[in-house]
């Protein structure tokens, strides 16, 4: 993701030009849909979430402050929160508890992964499960650290340290090769 493109998109957003949304969709749509899917675990719901997220992104364009967060971080937060809200409203409607299937948290179905990401999948498999479980629970399942601690039966302190280490080790684990690959993909 070039900074130049980011800047251009941000400018368009501030001008309230809807080309910004088209560009955001082209460049981040796949990733954000993946984020939504990880939270709601349903293709249909994930698509609803993506749609609602883009409407929110459009409406909240004024509130984006490049000094506070990278464009993706902002998009991620909106999508994740929208997905969590969606999940809550759906579970309230169906009066069903959110069952966290631990095995599902970090297992990615082949159908939901782009084939060109298969190499990445290999890399992803290399990350220690104990970090992935925590990262997924916190990133995508909308769990608080306390909830993650209870659901995963891991002490809160361990959740905290695994979140930290997991996040910081990502770069070390994949190194520049992953970044180069990701840049190529986008």
């Amino acid at each position: 993701m070039s900074t130049l493109l980011e800047k251009h998109i941000v400018e368009l957003l501030q001008e309230r030009n809807d080309k910004a949304i088209a560009l955001l969709y082209d460049n981040y749509g796949d990733t954000l849909l993946g984020v939504a899917k990880k939270v709601v675990r349903s293709d249909d719901l994930a698509q609803d979430v993506l749609q609602e997220s883009f409407i929110k992104i459009w409406k909240k364009a004024d509130s984006y402050d490049p000094a506070k967060a990278k464009l993706f971080t902002w998009l991620f937060r909106i999508t994740r929160n929208t997905a969590i809200d969606k999940l809550r409203s759906v579970s309230t409607k169906s009066d069903k508890e959110i069952q966290i299937d631990v095995s599902n948290v970090y297992t990615i179905g082949v159908d939901s992964t782009r084939p060109e990401l298969m190499d990445v999948q290999e890399h992803l498999d290399k990350i220690e499960d104990k970090y992935k479980i925590v990262l997924d629970a916190l990133f995508f399942q909308g769990m608080t650290q306390q909830e993650a601690s209870e659901e995963l039966d891991i002490p809160l302190g361990t959740i905290k340290s695994r979140l930290k280490i997991g996040l910081r080790e990502l770069r070390k684990i994949y190194g520049p090769a992953l970044l180069a690959l990701l840049i190529n993909l986008v």
Binding site: Y25, D26, G34, Q51, F72, L117, R171, L185
Partner: protein, 253 residues
């Protein structure tokens, strides 16, 4: 001390939770302050952001066909809603501007009318005073002329102005006196007749006698016992003091 503060902050998971937007308001403020103030915190935060993006991308999914168009259509309908709002806003501001300028115009007109009104009422007041004064004069003239106690003196000119004829009316009871100059001999262009009255040893200038009055107007004379009225020939425009050698008529009343 500062290094320790930063270490404590980085050891906590506030930054990680701030990244995911799950901090409390206080924690958000703290995180933003640390990121702004300390380069090492900023570096860690930027790395976390990049890692989050890398990690999220691992789960990227192909977006279905048509979803993009659906989203863009919804955004465009939001936009038209917005632009309709702007159209109304534009119309509203135009009307507001019109209303404001109309108000100013009427206010300005009102100011002008008020000024005119003041001017007119002042004029009326002046006219009223003037009329009262004139009425008073006429009343006095009437009193003098119709009063049986009024004495009538016929004034004739001396040899310098033989044709001069005037009538003076003096009422010692009402203490009013008038003179009616009926006929004045013709004078060269650069000369005029002037009326004077010597009252209590003081010579008062009563003004120039216009040919045009032609006996139609009565001239008020200041009343005093044993006053003397004079008519003199003076240079055009009148004189400050009477030219004694040019006295053409006098009247003692």
């Amino acid at each position: 001390m500062m290094v320790e503060k930063i270490k404590i902050f980085l050891d906590s998971d506030i930054l990680e939770r701030y990244l995911l937007d799950s901090t409390t308001e206080m924690e958000t403020l703290q995180a933003e302050r640390y990121i702004a103030m300390y380069p090492e915190v900023r570096k860690v935060y930027n790395e976390l952001q990049e890692n989050l993006q890398s990690y999220a991308k691992l789960y990227a999914m192909q977006t279905p066909d048509g979803l993009k168009e659906k989203i863009l259509a919804r955004i465009r309908s939001e936009r038209t809603g917005r632009s309709r709002f702007f159209r109304y806003a534009m119309a509203a501001s135009f009307i507001a501007v019109m209303f404001a300028s109309a108000s100013y115009f009427f206010w300005d007109q009102n100011q002008i009318l008020q000024e005119e009104n003041t001017m007119v009422s002042n004029k009326i007041k002046l006219l009223e005073e003037d009329m009262k004064q004139q009425l008073e004069d006429v009343r006095n003239q009437f009193i003098v002329l119709n009063n049986p106690q009024t004495k009538k003196y016929t004034v004739t000119g001396n040899k310098k102005a033989k044709e001069l004829k005037a009538v003076a009316y003096i009422n010692p009871v009402k203490k009013l006196s008038y003179i009616n100059v009926k006929k004045l001999p013709h004078l060269p262009e650069d000369q005029c007749y002037q009326m004077w009255a010597e009252v209590n040893g003081e010579m008062l200038n009563l003004g120039i006698i216009e040919q045009a009055t032609d006996g139609k107007n009565l001239m008020a004379l200041p009343y005093a016992k044993n006053a003397v009225g004079y008519i003199t020939i003076e240079p055009k425009g009148g004189n400050e003091n009477p030219t004694v050698e040019n006295i053409v008529a006098n009247i003692t009343y």
